[in-house]
């Protein structure tokens, strides 16, 4: 995980995917502002003119576009809200875990990573593997969404769990966008107000 997972755009100039790692700092390739972890979990920005500002992460995040607003832009169902290159893996089976007292649970066994592109549209996710045809997953087929350490994990009705690792995008943003897109979709289609996304999507 890196600072650019949190600050998916430059809070100073708004450049999307603007931050690139530069030594122990991150630099915005659009405006040149440099970001680094300051005391504790505070984040310091040093602008090209030399001025500095230190804020808490939640304060920086308030300066970024609101995912709830991003997902409502675009008129058609085909509107691409965001796309990214990913490594995709699917659960291929399960193993059992036991301890001295017996059976504890079953755990997922993951298949090989495969490169793909992932698109979030207004009413579906489109996955295009480098090898194989595109897959379209309607948002109503998703049953759970969560970012795990460095990947986004998605469960679909009747399908194995899928994990996406992002090469050049923020897993935090994707989780927020997908939550917002699902909320928007559920509202638009009268499915209700989502209360939580995990372990399954629950509505009021």
């Amino acid at each position: 995980m890196a600072l650019r997972d949190l600050l998916w755009a430059c809070p100073e100039c708004g450049a999307d995917r603007g931050l690139v790692a530069d030594g122990s700092e991150h630099r915005c390739r659009a405006c040149g502002t440099r970001y680094a972890r300051d005391r504790g979990a505070r984040i310091r920005a040093r602008r090209p003119d030399g001025s500095e500002i230190v804020r808490r992460p939640v304060e920086w995040l308030r300066m970024l576009p609101d995912p709830e607003t991003i997902v409502t832009q675009g008129d058609t169902a085909d509107h691409v809200i965001r796309s990214a290159h990913v490594q995709m893996a699917r659960v291929t089976g399960f193993d059992t875990v036991r301890d001295g007292e017996g059976y504890l649970n079953r755990i997922e066994l993951w298949g090989e990573d495969a490169p793909a592109s992932l698109e979030l549209r207004k009413d579906r996710l489109v996955v295009v593997p480098e090898e194989g045809g595109p897959e379209s997953w309607p948002l109503e087929s998703l049953t759970a969404v969560q970012a795990s350490s460095s990947s986004l994990q998605i469960n679909r009705r009747g399908e194995p769990l899928v994990s996406f690792r992002f090469a050049d995008d923020s897993v935090f943003l994707w989780e927020e966008l997908l939550h917002a897109a699902l909320r928007d979709f559920y509202r638009r289609t009268g499915l209700g107000e989502i209360l939580e996304f995990q372990p399954r999507i629950v509505t009021e």
């Binding site: 972890r37 504790g40 808490r56 992460p57 875990v97 755990i107 997922e108 769990l161 935090f172 372990p199």
Partner: protein
């Protein structure tokens, strides 16, 4: 000495090299009988430090994917963790938690279900509140603070700092065997629980 006891001693011995640990309220952990310790989740350090300082062994849920690696999985089991599948309703994890409670043991759960990205408190997972209402055992609220400053989710490195663990007096929730009664009691129970944890963690109201 058990592996768990050894790990507790090791963490207590090594942690001062990393930072300060300020613990308050251990007297609220019952000397015997079942309990559910419910805490917020700021960093990977939370379970390590909380289990190191709580005097009684505590069984904790850990995400199932952590058990995929046999070495880490074996280590987690020896630290009394059991897997929970987070992407579907997982009755087996609930059964294991209830089994430990019926055996008079302590169970620890991180109520937000994941580490915070921005340092703010997140809403309680409904499943945890349902478990509280089904188990009917004393609930020990626990607030951890400072761990996000030491090791935020978006950074690879730990930095020196003070982590505070505040344990509150046991809370009582009704034991409700009927599912509809549990559902009806959920909002108030969730509110009470998160108010207590927010107060202990020195945090604001849950966001998100």
């Amino acid at each position: 000495m058990t592996f768990y006891g050894f790990a507790q001693r090791l963490v207590k011995a090594v942690w001062p090299l990393v930072g300060r640990l300020d613990v308050d309220g251990l007297e609220h952990v019952p000397d015997d009988g079942p309990f559910l310790l419910i805490a917020n989740h700021q960093s990977y350090l939370d379970p390590v430090l909380i289990q190191a300082v709580v005097p009684r062994p505590m069984y904790t849920m850990a995400k199932s994917t952590e058990f995929s690696n046999p070495v880490i999985g074996g280590f987690l089991k020896r630290l009394k963790s059991f897997p929970v599948r987070r992407f579907e309703i997982d009755p087996q994890a609930v059964r294991i938690a209830l089994r430990h409670l019926e055996a008079g043991r302590g169970v620890g759960i991180y109520v937000e279900g994941e580490r915070t990205w921005d340092g703010e408190l997140k809403p309680a997972r409904l499943g945890t509140v349902r478990l509280i209402l089904k188990a009917g055992v004393p609930v020990i609220p626990c607030g951890i603070s400072g761990a996000y400053d030491v090791w935020p989710r978006w950074h690879r490195r730990i930095r020196r700092g003070t982590i505070r663990i505040r344990i509150g007096p046991p809370m009582r929730f009704p034991q409700l065997d009927d599912r509809s009664a549990r559902n009806a009691a959920l909002p108030e129970a969730r509110e009470r629980l998160m108010s207590a944890i927010a107060s202990l963690a020195g945090a604001g109201r849950p966001t998100g």
